[in-house]
């Protein structure tokens, strides 16, 4: 059995953070957070957990490390948040570094382990509390912290400046007009049926996704818009940092940019964690019991367009595909059936992974782990041999994957384990095979 102290990885954010810590400061912050921000739920988890270890098989890190108990959810909680609770925060800065590394890089907050726990302990929640404490202590990995800084400054996660956002939309509109002469990406169209929101990697380096969305909406005759002002990025790494104050600011910006345009609802692109942020966490921090404006995921919207016949598929995608179930929209929101409906409507040959649906393994990029950057790439790739095995066993060439972080995570896994597969967004496939009645 390994121990977190055996696998410490150098990270400027964590190092800088602990360098500024004292044991007194740790004790003060931990106790303030535990007393002021947590309640019966966390205490019940800690006291109810009988250390039975059944959660272990639920964790891809544990499975991928040949059953090393150190990677089991119960161990990760015991070595971090439960220890802080038991010791009432009296731990060393070095120990906080270890706890931060566990919480930010060895747990994807995917909540799969909760399905295996006989008493329903949600270790994802406990690890997020741990991250919250790390944020309050200023011990956060460099790259995800930088992402949070970007969120606070630009309201998007990739330092996209206000003009760059608009310019990118206009560029994609121009490009698309070579294919559809009168296509538009309507900016600030008041009263549109839907407001389409994306995450910042789309204008930054996956611009084809914006093009494809415009093409799909154009073909379907959708009354849609995108805002020219900040609020367009639905993503939220501040949530995963544990910086809930900034999470609230981001969500407020997102909701209000849509409310201002008097749209009926928000359709978000193929992203998982953003969905968690709008329906579960960001909204609640702002005081909303539900979302103040309906937000639906692209999986659901594509399902509507296809079942209503607004998008026609003359010939299905022929390559055999498998389905990756993103944690936040499947375990978190129950879109497993609609994801399968859509995939079967557009793909000829679908081979299920085993296990699948709500039991599917996380991509190991989620929960902000991929945003912790290059220092931890190896952690998440080696920590998901289980996913590589799952993918390999399907024998297919393409993976349907309606989530950005999953996409990035699977690309790394496919590369590392030399699987020779291709992750695909649903939008990639729909755009490729749909009937284009208005194309030049």
């Amino acid at each position: 059995m390994s121990h977190i102290s055996d696998r410490i990885i150098s990270d400027p954010g964590l190092e800088l953070g602990v360098a500024n810590l004292t044991t007194e400061r740790i004790e003060e912050v931990v106790n303030q957070a535990l007393k002021g921000e947590t309640g019966a739920k966390l205490k019940a988890y800690q006291e109810t957990c009988m250390r039975c270890g059944l959660c272990a098989q639920g964790c891809h890190f544990y499975v991928s490390h040949d059953g090393d108990p150190s990677y089991s959810p119960v161990s990760k909680a015991t070595e971090s948040i439960y220890e802080l609770m038991e010791k009432k925060g009296r731990v060393s800065p070095k120990r906080i570094y270890e706890m931060a590394q566990i919480a930010y890089t060895e747990c994807n907050l995917c909540k799969r382990c909760a399905h295996y726990c006989p008493v329903g302990i949600d270790t994802g929640y406990s690890m997020l509390v741990m991250r919250r404490i790390c944020h309050l202590l200023g011990v956060v990995p460099q790259y995800i912290l930088d992402t949070g800084n970007s969120h606070a400054t630009t309201m998007n996660q990739m330092w996209v400046k206000d003009d760059e956002w608009i310019d990118t939309l206009q560029w994609q509109e121009d490009e698309a007009r070579d294919e559809f002469s009168n296509i538009r990406i309507p900016l600030d169209k008041e009263g549109a049926d839907i407001y389409y929101s994306v995450i910042a990697p789309e204008p930054k380096f996956r611009t084809q996704l914006i093009y494809q969305a415009a093409a799909i909406f154009h073909e379907a005759g959708v009354d849609w818009t995108m805002p020219s002002t900040p609020g367009w990025d639905n993503s939220d790494m501040s949530m995963y940092i544990g910086d809930f104050e900034n999470m609230g600011r981001l969500k407020r910006s997102h909701y209000e940019s849509a409310q201002k345009l008097r749209v009926k609802r928000i359709v978000m692109g193929e992203c998982g964690h953003a969905y968690r942020s709008v329906y579960d966490m960001g909204n609640r921090w702002l005081g909303y019991r539900d979302m103040p404006i309906p937000v639906i995921h692209s999986v659901e919207y594509f399902w509507e367009l296809l079942t209503e016949g607004k998008i026609k598929i003359p010939k299905k995608f022929e390559h055999p595909v498998t389905i990756h179930d993103p944690c936040n929209i499947i375990r978190g929101m129950g879109l497993m059936d609609k994801l399968r409906d859509v995939t079967h409507m557009i793909c000829e040959n679908v081979v299920e992974m085993t296990p699948n649906r709500e039991h599917n393994y996380c991509c190991s990029a989620g929960g902000g782990v991929i945003n912790c950057g290059p220092p931890f790439r190896g952690t998440r790739v080696k920590g998901n041999k289980a996913k590589a095995d799952q993918l390999r066993n399907t024998g297919v060439s393409h993976v349907v994957c309606p989530c950005h972080n999953c996409h990035g995570g699977l690309e790394d896994i496919i590369d590392h384990y030399e699987l020779g597969m291709h992750p695909k967004f649903l939008g990639d496939i729909i755009y490729e095979i749909m009937e284009k009645t208005d194309a030049l």
Partner: protein
């Protein structure tokens, strides 16, 4: 266009544009906008590939650009838009270019009387604001959150004054942003700043400030309050200049602070959109007295009407009445005025408009794709396909309705009592 008193307030109805279909030889046109006096409708029109212009009523500007976007009428009735040609942007005003071209330009704003048109601009990779075509003397690595004073003489924005490389979290933590007014940055450096706001005399400016990774406060003329909070929202100056107020979050609850001292003790699950009455004797806000239950509060006294979501608080000119939009999370909208919900629920509603004098208040509502004006909660006139915000005359006795009906643009003036 002239002052509102000079507009045509003769009771009656006229068709300003008979057909809103694209004009002859035009490919397609975008969503229309209408002038404040209701006499002009304008829309961006496509003439050919990479060739755009602006239609005003049944005429078209005699200039074309590769792209024209952000069409907006100024309060004095001038039609503005942003034109792009050969990789450069220009502010267009009534078919004329205002000022120089920019590497990029976006987001026009107007002074209250429309005499000043401001725009965000970028030249040679540096950012700033241009007023009536004249850019700030100093430009910055980045600028955002810009505002224009209501008299149009001053502008402010959050600017980046310290360079930062990729993921330089230590540099960021020391502060890289400053508050700039008229292109001059204050010396103070902050991690983040948001939403600058001017006082009523345009001599002072306040903004939300993040002074450490965990601490938020309000800075006024670059002097942060001595008290820090878990989070803050948009500050507002007391209209008589007595203090600055802002929603602040402390120990998980929201209240209002004035100059760093408690004004409304934190007790709300949320508090946003502060507004003062003109005399400063009333302070209004949208608040959540309990989790998931939002309403309006005046001087810290919440209304009794609660809703899962509340937006768009509007005060009457005297500031002693308020109207607001409530919804069941963007469904089943209601108009609530003075804590009384108007009858009926709607698919969508727009913010209320109070008459300058008297008690009248109007709002546009939509159901099943048709829009209608409600006056004091009652249907006022017939349904239309689209209605812009109703405009009252100076004494509030007449209202102008600008609407689209059967593919025509109509302008109607009616007695409020009719």
């Amino acid at each position: 266009m002239g002052r509102i008193s000079t507009w045509d307030w003769e009771i009656g109805e006229k068709i300003v544009v008979k057909s809103l279909s694209p004009l002859q030889d035009h490919g397609w046109q975008e969503e229309p906008h209408v002038s404040p006096d209701g006499e002009t409708l304008a829309a961006v029109v496509n003439l050919a590939a990479m060739e755009f212009s602006v239609r005003t009523n049944d005429s078209v500007w005699d200039v074309t650009y590769e792209r024209i976007w952000y069409p907006r009428f100024s309060p004095d009735g001038r039609m503005t838009a942003i034109g792009q040609q050969d990789g450069e942007s220009a502010l267009l005003v009534d078919a004329e270019q205002m000022g120089e071209t920019y590497e990029y330009a976006w987001e026009t704003k107007f002074s209250d009387d429309g005499s000043t048109i401001a725009i965000m601009m970028k030249n040679e990779g540096l950012y700033g604001v241009a007023l009536n075509g004249t850019p700030w003397e100093n430009l910055f690595e980045n600028a955002n959150n810009y505002v224009l004073s209501s008299d149009g003489k001053h502008s402010s924005a959050i600017v980046q004054t310290v360079s930062m490389g990729q993921a330089e979290i230590e540099v960021f933590a020391k502060g890289i942003h400053s508050l700039a007014v008229d292109g001059n940055a204050f010396p103070g450096k902050y991690l983040n700043l948001w939403t600058p706001v001017f006082d009523s005399e345009f001599k002072r400016v306040a903004a939300q400030a993040r002074v450490s990774m965990l601490d938020y406060t309000i800075t006024v003329d670059d002097k942060p309050w001595s008290t820090v909070y878990g989070q803050v929202w948009e500050p507002i100056f007391h209209p008589l200049g007595e203090y600055v107020a802002a929603p602040v979050r402390d120990k998980g609850k929201w209240g209002v602070a004035s100059d760093g001292a408690p004004l409304w003790e934190p007790r709300y699950a949320q508090c946003t959109q502060l507004q003062f009455s003109p005399k400063g004797d009333r302070l209004w806000a949208i608040v959540a007295p309990a989790y998931g239950k939002f309403t309006v509060a005046c001087n810290n006294i919440p209304w009794s009407t609660l809703s899962p979501a509340v937006t768009d608080i509007v005060l009457n000119p005297e500031g002693d009445r308020a109207g607001v939009i409530m919804s069941n999370n963007n469904r089943d909208f209601k108009i609530v005025v003075d804590d009384k919900a108007w009858e009926g629920t709607w698919d969508m509603v727009w913010p209320v408009a109070f008459a300058p004098k008297g008690l009248n208040v109007a709002a546009v509502v939509e159901k099943n794709g048709k829009q209608q004006v409600l006056m004091n909660g009652k249907p006022f006139g017939r349904e239309f396909d689209r209605i812009w915000e109703p405009v009252f005359n100076e004494d509030g006795t007449k209202v102008m309705i600008r609407a689209i009906e059967n593919n025509s643009y109509v302008r109607i003036v009616a007695n409020v009592t009719s």
